[in-house]
Amino acid sequence: MIEIVMSSIIAFFILGGAFFGFVAAIGLIRLPDMYTRLHAASKSSTLGVMMMMTGTFLYFWYVESYVDTELVLAVVFIFITAPVAAHLLARSAFHADVEPYQLTILNELKRDETGAPDGNHGERVIIEGKRRPDLENREPEK
């Protein structure tokens, strides 16, 4: 009985890790611009690899009777560093003038040539509930 329960838990964690890794790959291929791809890649693959590390830890604990604390350290390390890496990537991309997708409706960091905040950065569109059908019906660029 305990074999079935433990094997099911280990299989759940391993299959969950593989599933979220696959979701990250689908997001990387399908999403339109760099920022949304970063959103998919950082969140989903982090959760996937954390589940996979937990499954590996339980597997070696149960099957081989070997407790490996480095896997716990790997989980904590991924949990700390993945948001930092994603934030640095997004910051680097924004300073390198990577264009957001054309249907992006809020860009709070946008500046004009003098360095002042751009007054027309789309916040009003959200508050008044206006939509932009001229932009939404445009063909998405590859």
């Binding site: 391993i14 593989a18 599933f19 560093t81 640095l88």
Partner: protein, 99 residues
Amino acid sequence: MNTFLDVVIIFSVIVLAFAMLGMVYRMLKGPTLHDKLVALDAFGVLLMAMIALTAMMLGTTHLLVVVLLIGILAFIATIAFAKFLEKGVIIQYDRNSDE
């Protein structure tokens, strides 16, 4: 019951291999350099999971050190590459300069 876990592990290896193939596609095609860098970062993270699966398949515990090592190296590589693409240098001596 070990057969069940073996099937699960081999299935996960196949799924992760296809996921890594998709990231290689984005790494080769990505319109900007930053797209390629995002794909490289996610590829490094998935490589950790792949090596953990390999350790379970082979039944050895020696590969578990490699998991942590690859995680650290992928993080440092991402940081250095992002800073290089932003500023053109990696190590800055004057922290207030725009160069």
